[in-house]
């Protein structure tokens, strides 16, 4: 897949990291297949995908902990892998935050942070450590041992340690997966604040869509080693370019129909082709599936011929109910509704479209 051409998506700044047709296979299985991606100065890009999609491998390739089979990796216009060269990790200006933080257990917090800047003059080094402890809000912890720190504190130290040598790029491998759910949200905001305060270019990896959507400047969705789509979180969410992306981000339902005369007849009634993004008259007669998310739909109790489906499942999630509705047409959709609108199982309902934004569509399967 190519880079986004949409001008409004192009982030400012110089390219810092460039991956060009990078492939890495283990045995017969390609963990990363022909992946191309450019990350710009000061950006926070998240590689998002299910476990085993190759995102961690991509990170390791960037860090120099693994070599690509083919393709080129450039950091600040310098080839670090490919074209016959390979720069070892210690000679790349990258920082890496490990999933389990990998703090050196035999060194204090201060010594951990100073590890990467050992060759600096003592005074400057000292000052840098102080500065970073300040930045990550742990000024009192310089002489503590990693084993005595909480998960969130460890992550702050890991962050400070990686930032100390002022890397060109900071890589974060599932940075929040080892934290308690409650702590994750706070640390997400905290990490984003710290990264933005230093202006470092960062690439993070996660399988958690909420995390990816909330902290990133851009999200790159990866499946089976391929880059599926890259762009601003809200654009990727609203306009997925593939079914995979649509289903991986948020809850997706599809209603099927055929385009005729600018209308599509679906299980939830006739839809106007104008509200569907990029569905021009040239697709006349095509069978398509329209993506509808739970908040795009409204279900109301109905009887007889007014009903177009019935409730088959109900999930209460606190502020609202998520109903699963089997339409008479056979499609299954989800509907997110206020907890006051209580519907019963098996109840016939009329589902209608309430979305006021363009919808995405895919050719029928």
């Amino acid at each position: 897949m190519e880079q986004p051409r949409d001008p409004e998506e192009s982030p400012p700044g110089e390219p810092v990291v460039e991956l060009e047709h990078v492939t890495r296979a283990f045995g017969t299985e390609a963990a990363v297949a022909d992946l191309s991606l450019t990350v710009h100065e000061g950006e926070l890009v998240t590689l998002l995908g299910p476990s085993g999609c190759g995102k961690t491998t991509t990170l390791r390739l960037l860090a120099g902990l693994d070599r690509p089979d083919s393709g080129v990796i450039r950091i600040r216009d310098e080839v670090v892998a490919g074209e016959g060269t390979f720069v070892p990790p210690e000679d790349r200006d990258i920082g890496l935050i490990f999933q389990d933080f990998a703090l050196f257990p035999h060194l204090s917090v201060g010594e951990n942070i100073a590890y990467g800047i050992e060759e600096w003059p003592a005074e400057q080094r000292d000052q840098r450590v102080e500065e970073l402890l300040e930045l990550v809000n742990l000024p009192e912890y310089r002489d503590h041992r990693p084993e005595n720190l909480s998960g969130g504190q460890r992550q702050r130290v890991a962050l400070a340690r990686s930032l100390a040598p002022e890397p060109d790029v900071l890589l974060l491998d599932e940075p929040f997966s080892n934290l308690d759910v409650g702590l994750r949200k706070t640390m997400r905001e905290e990490v984003r604040r710290i990264l933005k305060a230093t202006g470092v270019t960062a690439i993070s990896v996660t399988h958690d869509q909420e995390e990816a959507l909330s902290i990133s400047d851009r999200v790159a969705v990866i499946a089976a080693g391929h880059l599926e789509q890259v762009g601003r979180p809200e654009l990727v969410f609203q306009h997925p370019e593939s079914r995979f992306v649509a289903e991986f981000l948020g809850q997706a339902g599809f209603v099927s129909g055929r385009l005729s005369d600018g209308k599509i007849h679906t299980g939830i009634g006739r839809l106007d082709a104008a509200i569907i993004k990029g569905l021009g008259p040239e697709y006349e007669g095509a069978d398509i599936d329209v993506l509808v998310r739970p908040d795009d739909l409204l279900a109301t109790p109905a009887n007889g011929s007014d009903a177009n489906g019935r409730i088959v499942h109900r999930e209460y999630i606190g502020p609202s109910f998520i109903y699963r509705i089997e339409l008479n047409s056979g499609d299954v959709v989800h509907c997110d509704q206020n907890h006051d609108d209580r519907l019963d199982l098996d109840q016939p309902v009329q589902v209608s479209l309430t979305a006021d934004h363009p919808l995405a569509w895919f050719p029928a399967e």
Binding site: T56, D66, P88, E90, D100, Y115
Partner: protein, 542 residues
């Protein structure tokens, strides 16, 4: 990390190591060292070949067969008795509320701190003819007491000093047992005993089996006890043939003993003792399962009797020798000299240093790669560990006499024997500490700008240093008390604490042995403390 990511980083390591010439070199070095360790045993075969047709004749000779039957019998009896003592002790100290639980735990493990030959030595001098007990009973008109010598005596002594293996492994299994499993069984209407039988017992089986295996191997290879107790089992018989200048016959018997050892090990791998389960002590969740009520007071008798007899008897006897003098207690020509102690320390230090130097590449290699050769190099030295000391000693005597006479009865050969026997302890502790180290730490160091070598120096080495120190301490302490190889391979007129004790024991001059024997008790106690603290450390890390 997902499963696939795990596989990926695993194949990763494989790949990056294959591409590294240093890695390959190290692997071959490790393999070569391992081969050199195992090779001398091959010389036994050469010796037996020189017997020609007589070899078969001697193999089926009734005397040889009797030795085989007696050896196996001793192993079976001691192992069974150890289970009968060790398992109840473990259950009592882990799952019941007896008073002073911790103290009894230590006492029950304490016999391990006394080499069995010192126990046998003490038992003979206490209960033998003209021994302390006979002396006390003589004025009462009792002239004959049942003899301590022979099969029963040896079985008793060995049981007293080996049951702690079963006790400790069973205890570790019990501690690693998830208490909620027993609670689940209770909630499913099992009573305590049924829960024990159907939930606890199956889960501690691997632990019991691991301990039993150690007991069986120890009994089979123990040299001192059968010799002191005059029981014709393999180790005693081999030594006797060797002293009668029947080296080839001794070699033949050694091969048979090796074969029996191999059978025991094969049985172990067949029933698949899961060492992980047997030794893991993740957290002390061992809950009080048995409420003994008033029975908890008499329950204290078991650890009290077993532990105290096994530990206090030898110490009391050696103490008595120390303060007493008289005929049989002092002998002019065999006076103790401090130099024996220095000799012991000297060879033990050499052995520890050599073992670490050799173990480091082997252990580090096997912990950081998945290459088969490296794994083989790691396992091969364990052959030396499982080989009974007397067998190794006979093999090295034959090898040096036939092939390298300059080495016969020299310090280098003696130290080589120690290294072959005890290096696996060093490999084990270095490998464990290397494996415990998160491999991401080295990667973190690399991304922070350190080269491979610098990362090894600043991260790996400090983190595995405790493992190296533990390994060195274990080799040192076990060498201090090693008996058969020391006896057969020490240079002429070179005495260590152990060989001195052996000589005065053979001469019946028991009193001379007091100081060296007490020193050895302390040395063994220390080595046990090292092992236990290592286990404890592991538990704390998890």
């Amino acid at each position: 990390m997902s499963a696939l990511d795990g596989i990926i980083s695993y194949t990763d390591r494989l790949r990056s190591d294959r591409s590294s010439a240093i890695g390959t070199g190290l692997t071959f070095l490790a393999a070569a060292i391992a081969a050199a360790m195992v090779l001398p045993l091959g010389w036994l075969v050469v010796d037996v070949f020189s017997l020609g047709g007589r070899a078969l004749e001697l193999t089926v000779d009734p005397t040889t067969l009797q030795v085989l039957v007696r050896s196996v019998g001793l192993v079976v009896v001691v192992t069974a008795a150890s289970i009968l003592i060790g398992v109840p002790l473990a259950v009592i100290t882990v799952q019941t509320a007896i008073p002073f639980r911790r103290a009894w735990t230590v006492i029950a493990a304490l016999p391990l701190a006394i080499p069995s030959y010192l126990g046998a030595f003490a038992a003979v001098s206490a209960f033998g003819p003209r021994g302390a007990l006979a002396e006390m009973l003589a004025p009462l008109g009792i002239e004959a007491i049942p003899t301590i010598y022979g099969f029963t005596g040896a079985a008793l002594v060995l049981t007293f000093y080996t049951y702690p293996y079963v006790f400790l492994t069973t205890r570790a299994s019990l501690l690693s047992l998830d208490a909620s499993l027993i609670e689940a069984a209770r909630s499913l209407n099992s009573d305590r005993w049924e829960a024990f039988r159907r939930v606890t017992l199956p889960q501690i089986m691997p632990g019991i089996a691991a301990g039993a295996l150690l007991v069986a191997l120890y009994t089979l290879s123990d040299f001192g006890t059968p010799n002191i107790m005059r029981v014709e089992v393999f180790t005693q018989f081999i030594y006797a043939r060797y002293n009668a200048f029947m080296r080839e016959y001794a070699a033949l018997l050694s091969l048979q003993l090796l074969a029996v050892t191999a059978v025991i090990l094969a049985v172990e791998s067949r029933i698949g003792i899961d060492e992980q389960g047997a030794y893991s002590s993740r957290s002390s969740r061992g809950a009080i399962n048995f409420d003994l009520g008033a029975w908890r007071y008499p329950a204290m008798l078991l650890p009290a009797i077993v532990g105290l007899i096994a530990v206090l008897l030898p110490i009391a006897i050696f103490g008595m020798w120390l303060v007493r003098s008289g005929p049989g207690y002092t002998g002019g020509q065999m006076a103790f000299s401090l130099s024996y102690g220095w000799n012991s320390i000297y060879v033990s230090l050499l052995a520890a240093a050599a073992a670490i130097l050799i173990a480091l590449p082997i252990a580090f290699r096997s912990a950081t790669t998945d290459s088969r050769l490296a794994a083989l190099a790691d396992r091969a030295p364990y052959v030396g560990y499982a080989t009974p000391g007397i067998v190794l000693a006979i093999a090295l005597v034959s090898f040096s006499l036939d092939a390298l006479p300059v080495l016969y009865k020299t310090i280098p050969l003696l130290v080589f024997a120690y290294v072959v026997r005890f290096m696996p302890q060093a490999i084990g502790s270095i490998r464990t500490s290397t494996l415990q180290m998160d491999s991401r730490l080295v990667e973190a160091a690399r991304t922070l700008g350190r080269s491979r070598l610098a990362a090894f120096r600043s991260i790996t080495l400090p983190l595995i240093a405790p493992g190296i120190a533990t390994g060195a301490a274990l080799v040192f302490l076990t060498t201090m008390k090693e008996l058969p190889a020391t006896l057969l391979l020490r240079p002429l007129r070179f005495d260590t604490l152990v060989s001195y004790i052996w000589r005065v024991q053979e001469a019946g001059l028991y009193g001379q042995a007091a100081i060296p024997a007490l020193v050895l008790v302390i040395v063994s106690g220390l080595s046990m403390a090292v092992i236990l603290s290592q286990e404890g450390g592991k538990g704390a890390d998890q």
